[in-house]
Amino acid sequence: MRHHLLLRVITKLLVGPILLFALYVQFHGDYSPGGGFQAGVIFAVAFILFGIVFGLAKVKQVFPPWLVHKLAALGVLIYAGTGVYSLMLGSTYLNYSAFTPAHPEHGQHWGILVVELGVGVTVAAVMVAIYYAFAARPPVIHDEEW
């Protein structure tokens, strides 16, 4: 897409706000609609948009595939690890109230924050990984035929 000047300029302007909005949706999910899943998708969309306009090689420099694959697993580990941590504190699996026994509500806030972060990391990485897998194969349809 080297010849689409408008698309390139607008993409450069949009990527930052999209990432920022994803972080807002991620960490404001307790108070407004949204959460890890939606935030992960929006976060991935910023990279996918960048990849579509500037090419797969450029976006792979920013967000290398090995990191994407490790982050996909890391998110699940964060989520499951939160449950293991509550087990080690002597409570049931994924019972966040155990984190701060004096104020169960605070523990719930922390638990939800960490767990949503795990969901967001996994979803963002998985979406980018699937996009990489599809885009890395040579297309059968050429640019002019669309």
């Binding site: 949706v25 999910g29 307790d30 108070y31 407004s32 609609p33 949204g34 959460g35 890890g36 899943f37 939606q38 998708v41 929006i42 991935a44 969309v45 996918i48 579509i52 694959h69 996909a72 697993a73 998110g75 699940v76 989520y79 499951a80 449950g83 699996y93 994924l94 966040y96 169960p104 509500e105 719930q108 806030h109 638990g111 939800i112 767990v115 949503e116 795990g118 969901v119 996994t122 979803v123 990485a125 998985v126 979406m127 990984a129 699937i130 996009y131 990489y132 897998a133 599809f134 885009a135 890395a136 194969r137 297309p139 059968v140 349809i141 035929e145 669309w146």
Partner: protein
């Protein structure tokens, strides 16, 4: 007024679905399926299910449209014409559809306050979550805390999907490159 909006959205949904059925050009079909997701997201907003609408707009209209376009670029632009008309699929669809409609007859009326989902669990969540969890968005409280196991399962499913795609598509490309290096 709200009824008018809902009816208009449903009408547009049906029109989009019929247009998707009629078209052979897959690029237009993919775009229309994005429109379909966006219309369903609007319907979810009219039901006050903002979180679901958010997900539908981001995943249905956003990511899956991009992935469908990616798949299309790897396969074909036009839908293949069916070889000849066979009545069996039509009969299967009509039979399944009538069974499903028959099944809805037992369901409580839409929005009925006495429906089982609204009378026990929903009220319990709404009344208890402010002092159990204290998070203003009850949907987040249910998803991440009350139903933490289910959300963990969903995350693992998403991860499994990634592993499946990488094994199917990502691994094959790498093996081919090795073969080429070997022959060269």
């Amino acid at each position: 007024m709200e009824l008018f909006i809902i009816l208009t959205l449903f009408f547009m949904l049906v029109v989009t679905a019929i247009a998707i059925l009629m078209m052979r050009h897959l690029f237009a079909v993919v775009m229309l399926s994005g429109v379909f997701s966006l219309l369903s997201a609007l319907l979810f907003v009219t039901l006050d299910a903002v979180d679901v609408a958010f997900t539908e707009a981001a995943v249905g209209a956003g990511i899956s449209t991009v992935l469908m376009l990616g798949t299309m670029a790897l396969t074909s632009r036009n839908e293949k014409m069916p070889r000849d008309f066979s009545p069996i699929p039509l009969l299967v669809v009509i039979a399944t559809g009538s069974v499903l409609i028959y099944g809805t007859l037992d369901m409580p009326i839409f929005g009925s306050p006495t429906s089982p989902a609204l009378s026990h669990l929903a009220t319990a969540y709404l009344t208890q979550s402010p002092h159990d969890i204290g998070v203003p968005n009850v949907v987040t409280a249910i998803l991440a805390s009350y139903r933490g196991y289910d959300t963990l399962g969903e995350t693992v499913v998403v991860f499994t999907a990634c592993v499946g795609v990488l094994i199917l598509i990502g691994g094959l490309a790498r093996r081919r490159r090795k073969d080429e290096e070997g022959t060269n």
